[in-house]
């Protein structure tokens, strides 16, 4: 075991994949000599060469589109999109090509492409640097979408994503890059928890709190605070956003009868809506109260002086827990 930051853990996972499979190629803007704007690819070009860690021209559609061609040729490209808000020029290649190629060709052409996306807010950035675009991609069949919340998962799941024969969007919570955690670099991929599986990170019995990525830490903190008030919150880290491990969420809700979902992304049409609907369908009779969503507002990501109001924090999550429990909360006395 070694103690690594989130960013170093991804770096170690990328290094391992580059070592183990000559077909793995990294591509992106500034990922070479600079090591990426967040230094996630630090040192990899020096050790593996410019032919395997490729600084590309500044064209996101081309980064993904050429990755499609490389995958056609049998490579496993790992593309870095520098910031969440820069992914949109590549949207067509991701949605129309990467996602559909396997279906289009009746399984003859595989697209083992990993697309790394630093996402989410909380770092005081200007516009286009703090977005949470995951729902665009979870709505697109043919893609697998995962989000990591801790250095160990970051290390393991980047390797699982690269090893997957299906395309994977790997959402990295950029405000957690400097968080440190224990990472077992000898962990055996074949016995590691599947990247499709959710994980209960804090067990509890009163309320199920579902989240992923950057808010897992916030949710855990909220669960600790709730425990001080005698409320037992079970926190589930989804890890996989497409597909979602509904069995895990369902098992928890059958136990607690109450569901709170929290994410940074806007509420309407977001993952919280999908989870609330699916869980209501699957275990309506076990629910003691309506599912509650604590999310970013339906606004463009705000300027940084206001982002703390937009991002769900410990108190807003606890307010949601109170609503699920029918206790006095911010909406008490209001209709709807």
């Amino acid at each position: 075991m070694s103690k690594l930051t989130f960013a170093r853990a991804i770096n170690a996972g990328l290094r391992k994949s580059l070592e183990n499979d000559p077909k793995v190629v990294l591509m992106g803007e500034d990922i070479g000599a600079l090591g990426g704007v967040f230094r996630v690819t630090d040192g990899l070009q020096k050790d593996f060469g410019k032919h395997r860690v490729v600084d590309t021209p500044l064209a996101e559609s081309a980064i993904i589109g050429t990755a499609v061609g490389l995958a056609y040729r049998g490579y496993r490209p790992v593309c870095e999109i520098q910031f969440d808000g820069f992914i949109y020029p590549a949207f067509d290649q991701i949605v129309s090509q990467v996602a559909k190629m396997h279906y289009r060709t009746q399984g003859r052409v595989k697209m083992p492409i990993t697309i790394r996306v630093p996402f989410g807010g909380g770092i005081g950035s200007p516009e286009h640097h703090s977005e949470s675009p995951e729902a665009y991609f979870t709505h697109t069949s043919g893609l697998r979408v995962i989000s990591v919340s801790n250095p160990q998962d970051a290390y393991t799941m980047i390797q699982q994503a690269i090893a997957s024969d299906d395309p994977v969007l790997y959402f990295e919570p950029k405000r957690r890059y400097h968080d440190k955690g224990e990472v077992d670099e000898t962990a055996d991929l074949s016995t590691a928890l599947s990247m499709e599986k959710a994980r209960v990170v804090t067990p509890g019995s009163d309320v199920t709190l579902v989240t992923y990525g950057p808010l897992v830490k916030t949710a855990n903190d909220a669960a600790m605070a709730a425990a001080d008030e005698g409320v037992s919150v079970e926190v589930i880290d989804l890890r996989s956003l497409a597909p979602i491990d509904f069995q895990a969420v369902e098992a928890s809700v059958r136990k607690t009868g109450r569901l709170v979902i929290t994410h940074e992304a806007a509420q309407s049409g977001g993952l919280g809506a999908e989870i609330a609907a699916s869980i209501t369908e699957r275990c309506f009779n076990y629910l003691e109260s309506a599912p509650v969503r604590i999310t970013g507002f339906d606004i463009p990501y705000p300027y940084s002086k206001l982002e703390m109001h937009h991002l769900p924090d410990l108190d807003r999550i606890l307010d949601g827990v109170d609503r699920a429990l029918g206790r006095g909360n911010s909406l008490s006395g209001l209709e709807g």
Binding site: A59, L70, A71, R73, R104, Q106, A242, D245
Partner: protein
């Protein structure tokens, strides 16, 4: 453990770095305004620089190019008829573009890899794709018709220009592998306005990868004339990207063969990308759902009919005394046979089963898809004994 299959050692440049290689002079367009080896009247025009590249073409091979063009025109006509008869949902005719496609298609080596658009059925035919497979997607029986790895040609791309990036990426792979194959991107004049085609040229030039861009300028993107896409000759755009180009008479199969061979040879020898503009004409509609009388002048079609790619090769073969009755009969018989087989193949094509819906979305089982498939199959089973019998 590091790769031993790659072309260079870690820490070294595999790509020809753009620096210090930036040259003051842009790569030139060669071949003048229009490379032409057969005039519209069927005269063989001498052009020493390009003749060299087709000097090995025998009389027999010339007849074979004629047969290819005749067969693909017949396939195109049969598919159009099948659409009119309700057997295909839609068809994008290539009428008029036979020389561009057969000339390019016959220049390729088996190990080259083509990324075509939806209209490039002539190239797909050259790669050995079965005529029935050319129409499979247009009947609605599948999203695409063939195995790309069997014929070294990707399936037909519908998103305009998207495949230019795939070809460039594939060429990056060829370069990594140290192979001397070439990736070929086929697209039309409309596609040159798309960002993807421009980005593909940026990547291809920066990394100097073995890719050939072949733009069939057929003068129309559905109803939009080429002047809406470009203020200059399309071939002249390439030099701005640092890519050498040629502008060829796309209705002259020999000239297209020559320029494609030049481009492929350059790519194989590490000379990087080439851009070819094949000037041709879409004599039919964009697709069978289109009506060109709404937007183009009948005189224009007449002008281009006088430059017909098949008629001019036919005239040349006549002059050379190659178009004997025997050759004519053999060619016609081949075209008719292919068309007959195509028709039979289409009419006898089995419908897909309902649950094929869910196949191949992912390469490994997916819990969301499995659940929906399970629910839908049970729903279908609830009708068992009635209309859904055997559907599962």
């Amino acid at each position: 453990m590091r790769s031993t299959v790659l072309t260079d050692e870690p820490g070294q440049d595999a790509y020809k770095a753009p620096n210090p290689g930036i040259s003051a002079a842009s790569p030139r367009r060669t071949g003048g305004d229009l490379v032409q080896l057969i005039s519209p009247e069927g005269e063989r025009i001498s052009h020493p620089e390009f003749d060299l590249w087709v000097s090995d073409v025998t009389d027999e091979q010339l007849c074979s190019l004629y047969e290819d063009m005749m067969v693909i025109r017949r396939i195109d006509a049969e598919a159009t008829a099948l659409q009119r008869q309700g057997e295909l949902a839609l068809w994008p005719p290539l009428l008029g573009q036979e020389a561009s496609q057969i000339g390019a298609g016959r220049a390729l080596r088996d190990d080259d890899f083509v990324f075509p658009s939806y209209r490039d059925n002539g190239v797909a035919y050259c790669r050995g794709v079965e005529p029935t497979d050319l129409v499979r997607a247009w009947r609605g029986n599948a999203s695409s018709g063939w195995d790309p790895y069997r014929h070294n040609i990707a399936t037909q791309q519908i998103i305009i220009g998207s495949q230019s990036l795939h070809a460039t990426g594939y060429a990056m792979g060829i370069q990594h592998d140290g192979a001397d194959s070439v990736a070929v991107a086929l697209f039309g004049d409309g596609a040159t306005s798309e960002g993807d085609v421009n980005e593909a040229m940026v990547f291809a030039a920066s990394f100097q990868v073995p890719v050939v861009f072949i733009c069939q300028n057929n003068h129309w993107a559905i109803s939009e004339p080429v002047r809406i896409q470009s203020h200059i000759q399309i071939a002249d755009r390439a030099s701005g990207f640092g890519i050498p180009s040629m502008r060829v008479d796309g209705n002259d199969v020999l000239a297209v063969l020559a320029v494609t061979r030049i481009a492929l040879d350059r790519a194989r020898k590490g000379g990087g990308p080439t851009f070819i503009e094949a000037v041709t004409y879409r004599m039919g509609p964009h697709t069978t759902a289109d009506d060109p009388t709404r937007y183009r002048d009948a005189n224009e079609l007449e002008d281009w009919a006088a430059k017909d790619p098949i008629a001019r090769l036919k005239a040349l073969l006549r002059t050379k005394g190659l178009l004997t009755e025997e050759v004519e009969a053999k060619t016609q018989a081949k075209a008719d046979e292919v068309a007959r087989n195509l028709r039979a193949g289409v009419i006898n094509m089995p419908d897909p089963a309902p649950l094929d819906l869910f196949k191949h979305v992912y390469s490994t089982p997916n819990s969301w898809i499995e659940r929906q498939k399970d629910h839908y199959s049970r729903y279908l089973e609830s009708f068992s004994g009635s209309t859904q019998e055997g559907a599962l």
